[in-house]
């Protein structure tokens, strides 16, 4: 399965990549902001996206709205420090499927990824 990591922090992308690899994901593409991600989604065609909220050039919410507007249907998990309920609602409205608040443990991220993929499969 192809996964795209969208986060402006290389450290956070590396941590998430390591967790994904432990879960058995091998095809992983990285993007450093929403703009970079938009330029890569067509060619890479991710089947799951992990997206940060606060990023330069284009934030995660704007990216998700653009991705959905372009017909992107793959599940999106937002991985962010934005923990307020109003932000979670905003993200869901924008087309986010699941939400992980930083800081997170590998178990929590793994659980949300599996949960998201199970829901998508069942739909």
């Amino acid at each position: 399965m192809k996964v795209m990591l969208v986060d402006d922090s290389k450290t956070m992308r590396t941590i998430q990549r390591n967790i994904l690899m432990q879960l058995g994901f091998k095809e992983i593409e990285e993007a450093c902001d929403g703009q970079d991600a938009l330029s890569k989604v067509s060619a890479f065609a991710p089947e799951l996206l992990l997206v940060d909220w606060n990023m330069p050039n284009m934030d995660g919410i704007t990216f998700v709205k653009n991705y959905r507007a372009q017909g992107g249907k793959s599940p999106v998990v937002m991985v962010t420090t934005e923990a307020e309920k109003t932000r979670v609602v905003e993200a869901i409205k924008a087309g986010v499927n699941n939400y992980v608040v930083k800081p997170f443990t590998p178990d929590v991220l793994s659980q949300r990824i599996n949960e998201t993929l199970s829901r998508t499969k069942a739909a």
Binding site: T81, A83, E84
Partner: protein, 180 residues
């Protein structure tokens, strides 16, 4: 700034270090930033806050502690001059500030992308009209501090944030831009 704001940063710092670094931290008694610090700032991660709460948050370390912390965070030894080191420090202050602002109930607060300053003896000048509180922490990686200078937007009158002084290197972790 009230006691609950300081408590929010104590809790968020503890959460970030415990969850992402597997390090327990002990918070000391907070003091105003005009008190002589326990150590010379050598590595600082800086985040601005805007919206209903305005000001800035600075996560400061001596270099040795910063290296230990980054090793615990990333699992790797990093040279403080590498962009990855600044990126990791920036992500730590980002998580601490984000988790703290979530505890400001009923407030709409945004945080900036982090900046990182590296250099011996630098001072991060906090906004002059916001009380600056230093929260000292100890952990197995060494001593560090979180400086918080925030105020309610209703009382905010300043238009710009603080500035770092000395011969430090400032890294905007987003753009990897450096300026002496």
């Amino acid at each position: 700034m009230d006691a609950s704001s300081i408590a929010a940063f104590v809790v968020s710092t503890n959460d970030v270090f415990r969850t992402m670094l597997s390090l327990g931290v002990t918070a000391g008694k907070p003091y105003t930033c005009c008190v002589v610090p326990r150590f010379e700032n050598e590595v600082s991660g800086i985040i601005g806050m805007s919206g209903d709460v305005q000001g800035m948050v600075v996560l400061s370390f001596p270099t040795t502690t910063a290296c230990n912390v980054i090793r615990a965070f990333t699992g790797m030894d990093m040279d403080p001059s590498s962009p990855d080191f600044a990126d990791a420090i920036g992500e730590l202050v980002n998580m601490i500030s984000g988790a703290a602002k979530a505890k400001f109930e009923g407030k709409n607060v945004s945080i900036s992308c982090p900046s990182v300053v590296i250099g011996r003896g630098h001072k991060v000048q906090q906004p002059s009209d916001a009380l600056c509180i230093t929260i000292p922490f100890e952990c197995a990686a060494g001593a560090f501090s979180v400086e918080v200078a925030i105020k309610s937007a209703r009382a905010a009158t300043y238009a710009t944030g603080g500035a770092a002084t000395s011969n430090a290197v400032t890294t905007n972790t987003t753009n990897a831009a450096k300026a002496a």
